[in-house]
Structure formats: structure tokens, C-alpha cells
């Protein structure tokens, strides 16, 4: 595995019965990159993410995440990655501090490490005054920052984000991308899915899945040139229509 690749995937395949959900895909994600992972509903995105996060064993092919083999080292992968799903995965009836402690504990941080991380996060996010408030009492923008911070509390080399901005207002959505940029600036690799095509433009590189295959992978600018399209939305529609997505 090359030093600067955090993900290496070669002919990765996953079938469910006689349905081939992911069909021999190959790609790499570089260290520190913001990698946009797009595709129509049912194209196979979720299956790929589940394989790369150690939740699903592939049928065939090769894949390494943070240097670990997805077939044999799924548990090691889970410790090395961060994951954030569609809904900010905080416990609404726990306080800010309790949530931080909970996620630190899950990721196996020592008690001392959790204490220093807690102070650091509260200061950096400006949450000192609300440290003992329930999550359910916090505004969306604060929750979002805290959810992101707990997903990377163990300093993972890569964080997977599955539609992190679905249904979020346009200002909060943009603030979330500030967090993504900041993390990438600090060297964390970001692997993100979205249905907002303008967000695809914020990525360093974008892949588009159609019917289990990766049909396009390039910088946003490269994709637009290759498809003669004004924006990624057009690229996506051209690709997905030709693939016959339902």
C-alpha cells in the first residue's frame, strides 16, 4: 500500500444472492483528501461504505483502509476510523459532557485522555457554559459541531460521513463544510456522501456510482470538462440516466 493512500480498493465486489450490489470497483483515496462519494439511490454506495468501515465482508476483491485489510482486520479498522451518519448521532437525553465521555469510552480512550479531550473540545467549540445541558436543549448548529467532534475524538486518520447535511438549513449546511475543510486541513481524510450536488463541488475528488460500478472519478472540474456540463448536477444526471437508475 502506498504511503499516501488511506483507502485502496481493487475489484471489490459484493453480491447478495444473485444480485451484484457492488461490481468490481477500484479506486484510491489519498491522505488528507476530501473524497465525495456520489451515486443514485440503490447504486451501491451504502454497501461500499459498510465494507470499508468493517461492517460487511466483501464477496471478492481487495480493499485496505488505513493499512488494514477489510477481510481479516475489520475490528482494527473500526478503531482507526470515524463515522458519522445522517442524523447527528448524539444522545439527546445525555448532557454535552456525558456525550463526549461516552464516545471517548467507546473508542477506548483512557480516563485521563477523555478528561483532557473534554476540556479541549468544550473550549474549542465554545460549549463551556452549556457543558451540563442536555443535547436536546441545544440548537442544531451546536449539536452538529459536537457530533462531528465526537466522531473524530480518537483522532482517526479517516472519517466517513453518510449524508451528514440532509435536511439541514442552508447556513448550518455550510458551517458543516467549514468543519470538513478544517479537518482536512489538519490532515484527516474525509469520505463523504451527499444528495446536494453543490456540495460535490467542495470535494477534492468525486466518484459517481451507477448500478454497482464507479462510472466516473475525477476532480469536480475534470468531471465537468469531460461531460461538457456546467455543474456536477448535470454530470450526475447524464451518468445516472444513461445507467437507467429507477
Amino acid at each position: 500500500m502506498k504511503q499516501d493512500n488511506i483507502i485502496e480498493v481493487n475489484k471489490l465486489t459484493r453480491s447478495f444472492g444473485d444480485f451484484i450490489a457492488v461490481d468490481q470497483i477500484s479506486f484510491e483515496v489519498r491522505r488528507g483528501e476530501i473524497f465525495g462519494f456520489l451515486g443514485a439511490n440503490g447504486a451501491g454506495k451504502t454497501t461500499v461504505i459498510r465494507m470499508l468501515t468493517g461492517l460487511l465482508i466483501p464477496t471478492s476483491g481487495l480493499a485496505r483502509v488505513a493499512g488494514e485489510d477489510v477481510f481479516r482486520r475489520a475490528e482494527a479498522i473500526k478503531k482507526k476510523i470515524g463515522y458519522m451518519s445522517q442524523k447527528f448521532s448524539l444522545y439527546e437525553d445525555l448532557t454535552v459532557v456525558e456525550n463526549i465521555r461516552f464516545y471517548g469510552g467507546i473508542y477506548g480512550l483512557s480516563a485521563r485522555n477523555i478528561r483532557s479531550k473534554t476540556d479541549e473540545l468544550l473550549n474549542r467549540l465554545g460549549l463551556v457554559d452549556v457543558r451540563d445541558r442536555l443535547i436536546s436543549e441545544l440548537p442544531l448548529g451546536w449539536k452538529q459541531k459536537l457530533a462531528f467532534s465526537t466522531a473524530v475524538i480518537h483522532d482517526p486518520v479517516i472519517v466517513f460521513m453518510d449524508e451528514p447535511t440532509s435536511g439541514v438549513d442552508p447556513i448550518t449546511r455550510r458551517q458543516f463544510w467549514d468543519l470538513i475543510y478544517e479537518a482536512a486541513d489538519g490532515g484527516t481524510t474525509v469520505f463523504v456522501t451527499t444528495h446536494y450536488m453543490d456540495e460535490a463541488e467542495y470535494c477534492d475528488r468525486v466518484s459517481i456510482m451507477v448500478d454497482g460500478r464507479i462510472d466516473a472519478l475525477d476532480t469536480p472540474g475534470g468531471l465537468k470538462r469531460a461531460f461538457g456540463a456546467p455543474d456536477i448536477d448535470e454530470v450526475f444526471v447524464k451518468l445516472a440516466r444513461s445507467g437507467g437508475a429507477s
Partner: protein, 326 residues
């Protein structure tokens, strides 16, 4: 008037889901409610189709009061809830027959209403609804909401979580329905879908911030909007935010949308200043504001006037609570 609503309010515990909304929808109109999660869209729809009681205010839907006239009202409205609510373990065909039957009609009798939509999923009519793809589920749900020949249709976020291609197809289907004169109220978190409505209401945290045609919303933006481009976008974003004359700075795809505080703003001056900061391929172009630009500006004004403060690190919203999931 197909719908008229005056000062409608609803609270859940201490969350004000609707803080007194008023609007009217004409017969045959396609009226969109645009806003993020927690704006109050679903609460509003549930009240109007008689599934939820308001705390106060008045509503008429096709001339009926949803509180006292709900029995008649339910026969006359079609409603597609935000969450897929068909029977997952019934087939496509069984679901449709079920909905026709509970409304005392048959699929055959109203087939002409759903033909354009239903024929796309008819090849799969023996398949269980739970096994359909997202796009097909959406088509089935719309067919089921139409099969009893409603006078008015409420579609609550029909395109949420659906990919860009299926979203376009869905709006194309609604275009065909419009030809039949059906009144449609539709909600969506996607700003780009606003242009497919006759009029839209921009909603945020239980309030309607503006009602207008999509063109009218753009025209009301009230100042010049500029699209700024440079090859290093994140640096450009940071530099513009720190710029003393900046009023608002927001990323939009590969560009930054920018407004300036000065009345005598000169775009060429900004271009050369950005170039002097070491940015390459700098371009500043005047553009027409989109609905998303308008909503950002309206939310910003609500949050205390100065939009730039919203983008500062640390605490974001001054408001005490956010009504999520209402």
C-alpha cells in the same frame, strides 16, 4: 381559494413548531413550502389534513375546517406523508387496491388519474412494496394518494433522501398532474426545487419568512450579489470572510457568493485586491440571487442582522431552542 390559513399555532411541550402562520393557496396552484428540518412543514401539513389539532388559529381546506369538518375533508384530500407509509409486506397492486377500497372506489374507475405514474411501476405490481427502490416507492405512494380522486394533494417532502435524477422525474410527474387542475401543496428542503412551484413560502423555525413567486423572491433580495471565483477556494473563503467590507460570504458550489457593505462597490477593485493576496484566476461576476441566497439572507436577518457573525466559530445561534423533528 383552495386553502386559507390564519395565524395557525402549534406547540409540542415548549417547542413552538408553528408560531402563527398565515397564507392562501388558489385552486389549481402548485404551492411549495421550502425550509430545513424543524421549519414546521410537516406539522402544518398534518394539521391541514386533520391528523393533528392546532392550538389556535383558523384553517380552511377546500372550504372545510380540518377540526370540525374532518370526515368530509379526509375524502377530498390526498396526502403523501414524509415517511414511506404504505404496507411493506403487501404487493404494489395490493397497496393500491387497499387505498382504493377504503375510499369506496376501485382502481379501474380512477385508473386514468394515475396511469402516467403507475404504468412505470406496473411491471413490478406483484413485488412487495418493501422491496421497491426509493424512486419506485415514491411513485407507488403518489399513486395511492391519488387513487380516490382528491381535490387537493399534500406532498410532505416527497423527494427527501431521493437522488438528483429521481427528484427531477418526480417533478416531471407533478407537471403532468398540474395539467389536470389539481391543487398541490408540496414541501421540500431542496432550494433548487422552488423554481418548479407557482409560488413558494420560505419557512424557518415555525415561521413563514416570505411568500412569493420564485422570481419575486429573487427580485426582493434587495442588493447586488456577486459570484467570486479563484483557484484556491478555501483560501478565498477565509480571505473574503476576513475582508472588512464583506457583508455576507457563502460557498455555493465552486463559487463564493458575496455581498459588500459599500454603496460604491467596484468589482474590479475587489478582483485586483484578491489577486494581490496571492489568489489565482480571480473572477468577480454579478449574478441573480437564487432562492437559496434569499433564504440565507432572511435567516441571517432573523438571527440578528449581521450575517457575518453567523459564520464565526463558537456558538452559532443566539436562539434558546431549536424545534427539530417537529
Amino acid at each position: 381559494m383552495s386553502v386559507s390559513v390564519r395565524n395557525l399555532k402549534k406547540t409540542f411541550g415548549d417547542i413552538e413548531a408553528l408560531k402563527g402562520v398565515s397564507f392562501e393557496v388558489k385552486t389549481g396552484e402548485r404551492f411549495g413550502f421550502i425550509g430545513p428540518d424543524g421549519a414546521g412543514k410537516s406539522t402544518l401539513f398534518r394539521i391541514l389534513v386533520s391528523l393533528l389539532l392546532p392550538d389556535s388559529g383558523e384553517a380552511r381546506v377546500v372550504g372545510l375546517d380540518p377540526v370540525t369538518g374532518y370526515i368530509e375533508l379526509r375524502r377530498r384530500v390526498g396526502y403523501m406523508p414524509g415517511r414511506f407509509s404504505l404496507y411493506q409486506d403487501l404487493s404494489v397492486e395490493e397497496n393500491l387496491t387497499f387505498f382504493a377500497t377504503i375510499f369506496n372506489t376501485t382502481v379501474a374507475k380512477n385508473y386514468h388519474l394515475i396511469r402516467d405514474i403507475y404504468h412505470q411501476i406496473e411491471p413490478f405490481k406483484k413485488r412487495r412494496a418493501g422491496d421497491l427502490s426509493g424512486g419506485m416507492k415514491q411513485k407507488l405512494a403518489l399513486s395511492c394518494a391519488l387513487v380516490h380522486k382528491p381535490d387537493i394533494l399534500f406532498l410532505d417532502e416527497p423527494t427527501t433522501g431521493v437522488d438528483a435524477v429521481s427528484r427531477r422525474e418526480f417533478w416531471d410527474m407533478l407537471d403532468k398532474l398540474k395539467e389536470s387542475g389539481l391543487t398541490v401543496l408540496v414541501s421540500t428542503p431542496y432550494m433548487d426545487e422552488a423554481s418548479r412551484c407557482d409560488r413558494i413560502a420560505l419557512m424557518h423555525r415555525g415561521e413563514i419568512l416570505e411568500i412569493n413567486t420564485p422570481e419575486g423572491i429573487s427580485n426582493n433580495f434587495g442588493r447586488d450579489l456577486w459570484a467570486v471565483h479563484a483557484s484556491q477556494r478555501y483560501r478565498l473563503l477565509k480571505i473574503l470572510r476576513a475582508y472588512s467590507h464583506a457583508e455576507s460570504v457563502f460557498a455555493f458550489g465552486e463559487q463564493i457568493h458575496y455581498t459588500d457593505r459599500r454603496h460604491d462597490f467596484d468589482s474590479e477593485e475587489l478582483e485586483s485586491w484578491l489577486a494581490s493576496q496571492g489568489l489565482e484566476k480571480v473572477q468577480v461576476k454579478k449574478i441573480r440571487p437564487s432562492v437559496e441566497d434569499a433564504l440565507i439572507a432572511l435567516i441571517g436577518r432573523e438571527a440578528g442582522g449581521d450575517q457575518s457573525t453567523i459564520m464565526q466559530p463558537g456558538p452559532v445561534y443566539p436562539g434558546p431552542k431549536n424545534g427539530t423533528g417537529a
